[in-house]
Amino acid sequence: MIVAEQKNLEEIMRMIAPYERVMILGCGTCMTVCNAGGERETSFLHGALRLAQSKSGEGTHSFSEYTVKRQCDYEFLEVLDDKIDDVDTILSLGCGIGVQAIAERFPDTPVLPGVNTAFMGMAKEWGIWDERCAACGECRLEETGGICPITRCTKGILNGPCAGTKNGKCEANTDMDCAWILIYNRLERLQQLEKMRRYYPPRNFLAVARPKRVITKANTEAGENNG
């Protein structure tokens, strides 16, 4: 899933400053799971913004809140059609994809990002999220025992650990496991160390040329145009 962190209140207040009627829009999918912008966080933020405004004595914003099931899908944005004319901006607590979906779906309404989208990952334990996938476009997890060196090694190198690993940790961050030590241990356990002994050539960055597009077979009938 996608993991994000809510922006701090100060930055959010700076962003909304030019707008009168602000709709705080939560997302019921990833942002709910990572506690950055679900229904609960939307209502907390709503309260915090109201409080900040009344404390400062300045600001004449009026706030509303709403949470859709998923912001990254036009289908789920339809419910906003009859509300959009009553707001001057949408403060989206969706990930960067949600924000852009809103920008595309409502071309006349400014949309503001309320979270910093961080990565694709999973919960290590409650409240601690770790990145797992960098969407490199050429999955090589078969070669590396199911542990991604592109994502989990700071340098994303492919032929084994650099010289900076110590006590199984990474030179860049001693709280983080060295991906290549994890990979070694896992491959050893699976008796597949020969996979680590292989030479891996440089990555193909054409596979991640931005922006990417995936066209599924179901959607390639003649005449179909997704542009």
């Binding site: 340098k155 190198i157 084994g160 900076g164 030179e171 860049a172 891996y200 050539p201 440089p202």
Partner: protein, 307 residues
């Protein structure tokens, strides 16, 4: 025919001494010039570091040019931290054209440990891939398979950490470096003869020259700090005690003695093919170490190069 004077020496079987200079943080190169002049005739080659520890500095290639100008034999340290494969190849062509043909291929430190933490880390290649890429260039092609007009030739090396706290994965990497074409390996600073012996037992199955890394300690505090923080460094307690035992201000002297003694033993026992002395920030003391290690010799300054 050899691609560099250093390569010729690697193949000669003589006991080799290399050292390194770190380029300045700024445009004032006087001190580096001084170090190069001091060292160029006392060692077989001088490594020029490439933004060591991810600190922005005067470039390695520029330092190598300087070594060359002053009549020394440079080893161009090249990391993959700041340049993608296009820029790396361009710099290699430039190096070759100026007679800089020894290259030490390194992945490079993480940007986060340096002084410009917000920079974009590149790491388009790793050290093994860099070695391979140079081999490809030597075959007359660039990494994308396009023909080169004029084929460069290099003598290539890499690094290895015989005292890494988890050696097996490092040995796999070492194997890959050798298979990729590394002709020489300079080790991380090594302090235990036993681990050097053990490593050499392993390494001797390959046709590759090993230069043992010698870091000159200047105090017990420095030794303890490195043990705690620098990957692949293990200063034994006995050495720390020795350093701790000397009067204040005499630590560096002791460090020089320790290093010299270590080098002497390596040479006498013929443990490996040479040493690489890292006097981080104390380049001035290298001649003293060589003297104490009885390694003073007049070194040949000219050699044949197959250009």
């Amino acid at each position: 025919m050899a691609n560099s004077l250093f390569e010729e020496k690697l193949n000669s079987g003589e006991f080799l001494v290399t050292t390194e200079v770190g380029p300045p943080k700024g445009a004032d190169i006087d001190e580096m010039v001084h170090h190069v002049d001091l060292l160029k005739d006392r060692v077989d080659a001088i490594n020029v570091t490439d933004g060591q520890s991810s600190v922005m500095r005067f470039p390695s290639l520029g330092g190598c040019l300087l070594v060359k100008e002053r009549g020394g034999e440079p080893i161009f340290q090249m990391t993959c931290r700041d340049r993608n494969r296009i820029a790396l190849q361009a710099d290699l062509l430039m190096a070759y054209s100026r007679g800089i043909t020894n290259v030490l291929c390194l992945t490079g430190d993480s940007v986060d440990v340096g002084d410009t933490k917000e920079a974009k880390p590149v790491f388009d290649l790793d050290s093994v891939q860099l070695l391979k890429m140079i081999k490809t260039m030597e075959s007359g092609m660039d990494i994308a398979g396009n023909e080169l007009k004029g084929t460069p030739k290099f003598c290539i090396g890499a690094s290895v950490h015989p005292e890494a706290d988890f050696i097996e994965p490092q040995l796999i990497k070492f194997d890959k470096k050798v298979a990729a074409g590394a002709q020489f390996l300079q080790t991380q600073g090594i302090f235990n003869l036993a681990s050097l012996r053990r490593f050499m037992q392993y390494a001797s199955q390959f046709d590759v020259r090993i230069l043992a890394g010698i870091i000159v300690l200047s105090s017990a505090g420095m030794a303890r700090y490195m043990n705690k923080n620098v990957p692949g460094i293990m200063v034994p307690q006995s050495m720390i005690d020795e350093l701790a035992g000397v009067e204040k201000g005499k630590g560096l002297q002791k460090g020089i003695e320790i290093a010299a003694e270590f080098i002497r033993t390596i040479k006498e026992e013929n443990l490996c093919h040479g040493v690489h002395i890292m006097a981080v920030g104390n380049e001035n003391i290298v001649p003293e170490i060589l003297e104490a290690a009885q390694l003073v010799k007049v070194r040949r300054r000219t050699g044949k190069r197959s250009v």
